[in-house]
């Protein structure tokens, strides 16, 4: 075998309490983010909401989706997805952010 030996065949059974812990965190954070939305934090609105969302998404991926217990390859695939998503979002937004800089319309 090239790089798939017997080590990947063993399966990691995650204890149930991990699932419940993650679940309660998610529920609490859902209500926190909903409550925070009723406060006006100005430009921080978007950052707080996204930070909470990113945290929630991370624990879903790490524990519900078992990334935490997965092979290096799976982790690399996840990182690649995030990396390419950032490329798409940030490089395009970099254009939009810098459009007014030169003070010449269209440049």
């Amino acid at each position: 075998m090239a790089d798939h030996g017997s080590k990947t065949a063993e399966h990691h059974v995650v204890p149930k309490r991990v699932y419940f812990l993650v679940f309660f965190t998610l529920i609490v954070l859902t209500w926190v983010t909903t409550y925070v939305a009723t406060l006006d934090l100005g430009r921080w609105n978007i950052f707080v909401a996204l930070a909470i969302a990113i945290f929630k998404a991370s624990i879903v991926a790490l524990f519900f989706m078992h990334v935490f217990y997965s092979t290096r390859l799976t982790k690399m695939i996840v990182v690649a997805a995030i990396f390419w998503l950032i490329l798409l979002l940030f490089i395009t937004m970099a254009d939009l952010w810098t459009r007014g800089w030169m003070g010449v319309p269209g440049r």
Partner: protein, 355 residues
């Protein structure tokens, strides 16, 4: 244009063209060198090392120091050469992107499938653009429908013409003559028919042409008429130091930085004025209420450009960088530079904003 049936090079008729051609020469030389080098090696190796008998060549040790050095050399040399290409191209591009402050302004509207051009002095033309030689010309372009692209090969410059936005292109013609205008962004059925001609003229010929052309007053005057017709003037004051608390004063507005009610700042350029007319609620000036109705559908792109030109003509241009030295001359849009004869030319109205 069009006289010679066999050409390999377009005419060079702008200040930028020489720079682009020089960069082109560099690129052609580098490319030719590498193409010929590779072609020579491929042919030479194919002949020299053609197989004779059943011998198998001994594999070269690619991990040797020599192999490594070779790999590094043929990575670094192309990188160096191409960074020159980048820097040279970028410097030309930045020159092309920044119109000189005292450029003569002309407005272009693209629509399927024609170019509509308005001069400050009031002359209007379709698919033709008359410009004086040796003057910086700044085009402000927009489209009524799809994306077009205003391309003059002899000037080596083009820019996309987008609906809903203004873009800018500038050039300084150096040779009297007639040159192609092409639409270079595919725009539909008659895309290849959306062509025109730039006529670069002597200053005197240009003035004569301008004098013959306009009967409707300058663009700013037409803009003022439209401004009043739409009732903008009933709310917006346009005299110096006059405030009514309901609508921002437009005198001297153009080129300044405006503070909005959400605390952000925006430069009052052509795009800002256009957006404020069509989408007044998008950006509300600090201290004013959201009461302005939209004029979307009530004013054409051509009309908008006239209003923009009118607002530009109100008061001195605070925001224009190098305008301080020639501030008095800036009050009615573009002014001819050195040439003294041009100052007295017909068709250049008295400053409408000061009347």
């Amino acid at each position: 244009m069009g006289e010679k049936s066999f050409q390999i090079f377009p005419e060079a008729a702008s200040t930028i063209a020489g720079h682009v051609d020089a960069l082109y020469a560099y690129l052609v030389l580098v490319s030719a060198f590498f193409s010929l080098l590779i072609a020579f090696c491929v042919v030479y190796f194919a002949v020299k090392y053609r197989r004779r008998g059943d011998e198998i060549p001994r594999p070269m040790d690619e991990h040797s120091i020599g192999g490594m050095i070779l790999e590094i050399v043929w990575s670094v040399i192309p990188l160096g050469l191409s960074l020159v290409m980048f820097a040279w191209g970028a410097s030309i591009f930045f020159t092309e992107s920044r119109p000189p402050a005292d450029s003569m302004e002309i407005y272009v509207t693209g629509k399927q499938w024609m170019w509509k051009i308005q001069h400050n002095e009031g002359a209007r033309e379709i698919n033709e653009l008359h410009v004086p030689v040796n003057r910086d010309i700044r085009l402000t372009l927009t489209s009524e429908d799809v994306i077009h692209d205003f391309y003059v090969p002899a000037f080596r410059t083009k820019t996309d013409v987008l609906p809903g936005r203004y873009t800018t292109e500038w050039f300084r013609p150096t040779k009297v003559g007639a040159y192609h205008i092409f639409c270079a962004e595919y725009c539909g059925t008659k895309h290849s028919g959306m062509i025109g001609t730039v006529y670069v003229m002597n200053e005197a010929d240009y003035n004569a042409w301008l004098a013959a052309g306009s009967g409707e007053g300058s663009m700013a005057e037409q803009g003022q008429a439209l401004f009043n017709q739409l009732g903008c003037g009933t709310c917006h004051p346009s005299e110096i130091n006059k405030l009514n608390g309901r609508c921002p004063n437009l005198f001297g507005l153009f080129g300044t930085t405006v503070e909005l009610n959400d605390g952000s700042k925006v430069k009052a350029d052509e795009s800002y004025i256009r957006e404020s007319v069509l989408y007044p609620q998008s950006k509300i000036v600090a201290g004013y209420d959201n009461i302005m109705p939209t004029f979307k559908g009530l004013v054409t792109e051509d009309g908008l450009l006239k209003v923009v030109e009118y607002i530009k003509s109100l008061g001195p241009r605070n925001g224009m960088p190098s305008s301080a030295t020639s501030a008095p001359a800036q009050t009615s849009g573009p002014q001819p530079p050195a040439a003294p004869t041009a100052n007295s030319r017909a068709g250049n109205p008295a400053t409408p904003g000061n009347r």
